[in-house]
């Protein structure tokens, strides 16, 4: 039990009376040093999550959403990765300044992660019961037997049928949906304060996607956890998220409460994403697609990174990097939680 005592000693003194957000990412930069130069994967990301809140991070592949999550978890490959600037405040403490051992104790116990492909993310030669039980054995010092009992209990919680009979099975003996449930069970095992789900449903077929998302949302409500949901699937987001951050080329380009974003996007990129969803009422018409490709991260375009693909681009977009403007309603009142990194956000919202 000594491990738990120490963990609490590390976290509690400052976090007991702490009132701010659970997780607060401030001006985070991540770059990768490659043979072709420095790839700037994350360029000044700010976001925060409260307990019980769900933040969806949206964006194409290579927009830096997964890298941000890995930086929070502390599982970036360093080198080649580097974090030149930024703070990741967890309960008021900057995790980037912690020792490796302090961070390890937070990982899995206070902040847990669910990965995209459960088959490759689970160890193929260890039984699921062992991998689940490992959480209890390492972080809580339980015996092998007690850990297995807890593992069965957890498999029950994520609604795996006949959990006791299947605890000694191996990952390849489960279906895709069941495997992802095991990943969820592993992440939730120690009732962490924050869960980061990196495209948890992308590898699943559509009918299973909904079940897994419902399960995740239900457990999140029950445990009052913060959830960062990383996805490129706008459909998944609408049901579960409280607020959305849209990322492009390592920056947040738009931030909004979930339903307002769908109703009225404030950035041409978000607008493009929403218009590229197939809709039944537009059957027969050509589906909109954002032209061009995501930028090469070693050579991000000057000005607004989206300008080469933007239908609204003007000269100013090619020279000036737009800051993340807080958005206001046409009558001047502030729209709570909304911001857009577009020089022409007013035109976008109203146009």
């Amino acid at each position: 039990m000594s491990i738990i005592d120490k963990t609490d000693a590390v976290l509690e003194p400052e976090s007991v009376g702490f009132e701010g957000p659970l997780l607060d990412v401030r001006d985070l930069h991540v770059e990768f040093h490659t043979r072709d130069g420095v790839a700037k994967a994350v360029n000044g990301v700010n976001y925060s999550v409260d307990a019980g809140e769900t933040l969806a991070v949206l964006g194409e592949s290579g927009s830096g959403k997964s890298v941000t999550a890995q930086a929070i978890m502390g599982i970036l490959d360093m080198p080649p990765g580097r974090i030149p600037r930024g703070e990741i405040m967890f309960r008021g403490q900057d995790m980037l300044k912690m020792s490796e051992e302090q961070r390890r104790r937070i990982r899995g116990r206070k902040i847990a992660m669910i990965f995209q492909d459960a088959l490759s993310s689970l160890n193929p030669v260890l039984s699921v019961g062992y991998q689940l039980g490992e959480m209890y054995r390492v972080h809580e010092g339980l015996s092998k037997k007690a850990a297995k009992a807890k593992a069965i209990e957890m498999m029950d919680r994520v609604k795996i049928p006949a959990a006791a009979a299947r605890v000694n099975d191996y990952p390849h003996q489960f279906s895709g949906g069941m495997r992802q449930r095991i990943m969820i069970a592993m992440a939730l095992a120690l009732e962490p304060d924050l869960i980061i789900a990196d495209e948890p449903t992308t590898a699943l077929d559509v009918t299973v996607q909904a079940q897994v998302m419902d399960l995740l949302a239900e457990l999140q409500r029950e445990y009052q956890m913060g959830l960062i949901l990383i996805t490129h699937d706008l459909g998944v987001v609408a049901d579960v998220a409280d607020k959305i951050a849209v990322m492009y080329a390592g920056r947040i380009v738009e931030r909004a409460p979930v339903h307002e974003l769908y109703k009225n996007p404030g950035h041409p990129y978000t607008k493009g994403l929403l218009e590229s969803i197939p809709r039944l009422d537009q059957k027969g018409q050509e589906l909109y697609a954002i032209k061009g490709l995501p930028p090469n991260l070693t050579r991000i375009p000057g000005g607004c990174a989206f300008n080469p693909r933007c239908p609204m681009a003007q000269d100013v977009c090619r020279t000036d990097v737009p800051p993340l403007h807080p958005m206001t309603a046409p009558d001047g009142t502030e729209l709570v939680g909304r911001a857009s990194a577009c020089h022409f956000w007013k035109e976008t919202v109203n146009g």
């Binding site: 937070i106 990982r107 990965f115 993310s121 689970l122 193929p124 030669v125 490992e134 191996y170 592993m186």
Partner: protein
């Protein structure tokens, strides 16, 4: 699992018969005649030779000779050497333990040093120590074992006088050390490279990222999650390698004058003692078959995705 083992054991029978037949035929087509050799340079009566041949059954058709041999083998009779009149079983009983000792010694050396070096290099791919290992193993792989053997013998025994050049007492592990290192060096190079590559590859696997994200201590991540996966190909290689080491011992035994099967089979070949050659070679075939079965079973234990029905 049980049925799989039985099937594999049954499959060994035709393999065993086939390989003994092949070696038997090869001995037959070799020029020379042990009975004629028995007479030496003195004048002899062809009728006497024919008589001896008849007594030994060497005048029978080939298939009958083979059938007789196999019949004896099934009853545990390996036959008798023609010149020395020693039972082949005795020769095997003398030589085999020596070679087995040497092989196991070399095997232990291969496993400990090879896997050890592989882990050191594999945990930090593309560093100095990794490159160093690749260079060292490349040298070992490209150098024939007799070159390495004579080189070591020259350096350690003649230049520095640290050891005896020949093995006089095969139960003295100090004397067997150098032959074992020479014998194991090629396998060591392969094992080290295989371990290194397998570790470096698995290090990048998704489940390793998961293990880190679970907040496991580094020792556990490497010891349980990485090693379990990385050693699967190494174990399969090591299993088949026992047979290779035994046959490789023939050359090493020659260099260091170890009185093992290599020595025995070499002498038997010179004297055209077919029964001895076939007997020893068949035993080595059996060792091969047994270790490969063992490896296949071990494979299923290590990797749960493999199941035998």
């Amino acid at each position: 699992m049980g049925r799989y083992v039985v099937r594999r054991l049954l499959q060994m029978i035709p393999v065993f018969i086939g390989s003994t037949l092949l070696i038997f035929l090869m001995m037959y087509v070799l020029p020379g005649d042990p009975v004629r050799a028995l007479m030496g340079d003195q004048a002899f009566d062809p009728a006497v030779v024919a008589n001896i041949r008849k007594d030994l059954g060497l005048d029978l058709p080939l298939w009958q000779q083979y059938a007789n041999y196999l019949g004896g083998l099934v009853q545990g009779d390996f036959g008798t050497e023609i010149v020395s009149q020693r039972p082949v079983a005795d020769i095997i009983a003398d030589a085999f333990p020596v070679t087995v000792r040497l092989t196991l010694f070399a095997f232990a050396f291969t496993v400990l040093v090879g896997v050890g070096l592989g882990i050191v290099a594999g945990l930090r791919p593309n560093t100095m120590q990794d490159r160093g290992l690749l260079a060292l193993t490349l040298v070992l792989i490209s150098m024939p074992s007799f070159v390495l053997g004579f080189l070591m013998q020259y350096l350690f025994a003649f230049q520095w006088q640290l050891i005896q050049p020949n093995v006089r007492d095969s139960e003295n592990f100090g004397e067997l050390l150098l032959p074992a290192i020479v014998l194991g060096s090629l396998s060591l190079a392969y094992v080290a490279r295989l371990t290194r590559t397998s570790m470096a590859e698995n290090l990048r696997a998704d489940y390793m990222r998961t293990a880190v994200a679970k907040g496991l201590p580094k020792r556990r991540i490497v010891g349980v999650h990485l090693m379990r996966n990385s050693l699967i190909p190494v174990v399969t290689f090591l299993g088949t390698d026992i047979g290779n080491l035994m046959t490789g011992a023939i050359v090493t035994e020659g260099i260091f004058n170890v009185k093992g099967v290599g020595n025995a089979i070499f002498e038997a070949l010179i004297r055209r003692e077919g029964a001895t050659v076939v007997g020893i070679a068949s035993l080595i075939v059996l060792v091969y078959l047994a270790t490969s079965l063992l490896v296949d079973l071990l494979y299923a234990v290590l990797d749960p995705r493999i199941r035998y029905a």
